[in-house]
């Protein structure tokens, strides 16, 4: 008996071209210095943020340090997305690959850089878990050390995707690539390395890098001995008048991830434009707004910041 096996359909010209463009962009993104500078900056900041003299300082600092890699990926995105703003004018404006298809190829071409950044974050988190966690609270009922939860560990990879998409979208939209790259990197840095400037509650919902744990005010009448044994506490001191409960709020962290996914989708839409792009912008914006609303709802009463 003869069995006919359908041969795999040859990839279309569009798909083959997209793959070639992705390969070219991938090579360029890996040979540019920005990812590696970002990794170095993150490693340097993570190393220097250890040994904090206050509870959760290291824990916050480690998450915030990913601003370095995120900035590097953003700059790579701006460079790739802005290629049609070349000196003189667009390169090959008459070529069969149109601007939207170019943007898609350039966006997808960042995946090796994003993958390396994700791998780097995995290594950082594995090291943190192997070392047994970080000092997170002043007065534990049980332990005062914690490791990052899965939801928290998912934040950097989503940030990397978001930064790449935002870079391509903004690079495509403006002829002033250098200004956008520097300004964007500064914004990311401001939301990361100076995360403490974003510790008032509304900022925690909308910041790019949410550095938990958060702290919930327990009031002046609180008696530590009455607290459940699973709680971790912070002392009253000159910065806070009463006892606080220190916790990594999983629901807040989870919905903040959804918020980041929404923004990433919106920027992806802005990058690739067209019908699919407009749909992504609308869907992403709706998701991001909804995720902020849910964060507001799930935020515990008495939260005083991070």
């Amino acid at each position: 008996m003869t069995v006919a096996v359908a041969s795999r359909q040859a990839p279309s010209r569009t798909r083959r071209t997209r793959r070639a463009l992705v390969a070219l962009e991938a090579r360029r993104s890996l040979t540019a210095p920005w990812l590696w500078l970002g990794v170095a900056l993150t490693a340097w900041f993570a190393y220097n943020s250890s040994g904090a003299t206050f509870a959760a300082g290291d824990y916050h600092g480690l998450m915030a340090s990913f601003a370095g890699v995120t900035s590097g990926l953003f700059i790579l995105g701006v460079n790739a997305g802005g290629r049609d703003h070349a000196i003189g004018g667009p390169v090959a404006p008459e070529a069969a690959v149109d601007a939207d298809e170019r943007a898609l190829g350039r966006l997808l071409g960042l995946w090796p850089a994003v993958s390396i950044a994700v791998l780097f974050s995995v290594v950082v988190f594995v090291v943190q878990h192997v070392e047994g966690g970080m000092w997170i609270a002043d007065l534990p009922q049980g332990a005062n050390q914690a490791v990052f939860s899965l939801v928290e560990m998912m934040q950097p990879p989503i940030l990397f995707v978001l930064a790449s998409a935002a870079g391509v979208a903004l690079g495509r939209a403006t002829a002033h690539r250098a200004i956008v790259a520097v300004a964007g990197a500064l914004v990311i840095t401001a939301m990361g390395f100076v995360y403490w400037a974003w510790q008032w509650t509304p900022a925690v919902w909308v910041t790019l890098i949410q550095a938990q744990p958060i702290e919930v005010d327990l009031g002046k009448d609180f008696v530590p001995a009455d607290a459940p044994t699973t709680w971790m506490l912070s002392y009253p001191d000159r910065y806070q008048p009463s006892w606080g409960r220190v916790l990594v709020h999983q629901a807040m962290a989870g919905w903040h991830l959804v918020y980041l996914v929404g923004i990433a989708a919106a920027f992806t839409g802005l990058a690739i434009r067209g019908r699919r792009g407009r749909a992504a912008v609308v869907a992403g914006t709706v998701v991001a707004v909804a995720a902020v609303i849910v964060q507001i709802i799930v935020t515990p009463a008495g939260m005083t910041g991070v």
Partner: protein
């Protein structure tokens, strides 16, 4: 069958018509566009290369409609375009830039693409500097990089906006031979300010003024427009539209010659100047 065909083709920028109700056809060979700055050459070439849409009228390339997305892509697969100000990535080498353009032109197979990139770079005499960064190349070398990119895949239609800009005489000669060779197999439409280029290798010349065609014929027909209207003299004459002192010290004048003037054989320059001189259009 016509490669390019336009009908009442018009492009306006604000209230001004850069190209105004243009009708012409191109069936092959090398066609040169002449005209002063602002005459609409670049706007016309941008429309022919599908980069710019007309405000009104029609343009058809290879019998296809560039306003239709699918047909525009089909046109672009058979087209090469050198803009007046080509874009460059300064951090790329010449090879990398042309290779990148080759991908944008759907040459996805890596080794054959690399062969094609080497071929076009060699054709414009850049083989020895192909791995130099664009930022390190001279203006003429950059122009040739852009020309090489336009020639990728030997397109059936080459649209070139002032391709000789920045080239030295030897490179211009090379360009002539390259484009005339291309014109034997396909079609080249180029704009230039150099009438000598047009005379050297264009089979047809179109002179544009204020967005309209004022002459369409062969280079020798353009020269013959000035027959009987070019003379040499030892003194400037009020009858001349244009006059200049030549290398031998005599004055060459174009216009209505005075009685007894020593008429000379006109060149394409004379014909062009006669058309392009304000108030001299007959």
């Amino acid at each position: 069958m016509s490669v390019v065909s336009t009908s009442a083709l018009t492009r306006r920028f604000g209230g001004a018509a850069a190209v105004d109700s243009l009708d012409f056809e191109v069936t092959g060979g090398v066609v040169g566009l002449l005209g002063p700055n602002g005459s609409g050459k670049t706007t016309l070439l941008r429309m022919l290369s599908t980069v710019l849409s007309p405000t009104s009228g029609d343009v058809s390339i290879f019998g296809l409609d560039p306003s239709h997305h699918g047909q525009r892509t089909d046109i672009r697969r058979r087209l090469g375009y050198l803009p007046q100000d080509p874009g460059f990535y300064r951090g790329f080498s010449a090879f990398e830039l042309v290779d990148y353009v080759a991908v944008l032109k759907e040459m996805s197979e890596r080794s054959s693409r690399a062969d094609e990139v080497r071929r076009v770079l060699a054709a414009v005499d850049l083989a020895d500097v192909m791995h130099k960064k664009i930022r390190a190349l001279s203006g003429g070398q950059r122009q040739r990089v852009a020309l090489a990119a336009a020639m990728l895949g030997s397109p059936e239609l080459l649209v070139l906006d002032e391709p000789a800009t920045g080239l030295d005489p030897a490179q211009r000669l090379q360009l002539r031979s390259l484009l005339s060779e291309h014109g034997r197999r396909g079609t080249v439409v180029l704009s230039t300010h150099h009438t000598v280029e047009v005379a050297a290798f264009c089979q047809r010349v179109i002179v544009m003024l204020r967005g309209r065609v004022h002459f369409d014929g062969t280079p020798s027909e353009l020269a013959q427009l000035a027959a009987g209207r070019v003379w040499v003299d030892h003194d400037a004459s009020a009858a001349s539209e244009r006059a200049w002192i030549t290398a031998d010290g005599t004055i060459r004048a174009i216009g209505d010659p005075p009685t007894g003037a020593e008429l000379v054989e006109p060149t394409i320059d004379d014909g062009y100047l006669l058309i392009a001189t304000p108030g001299a259009v007959r």
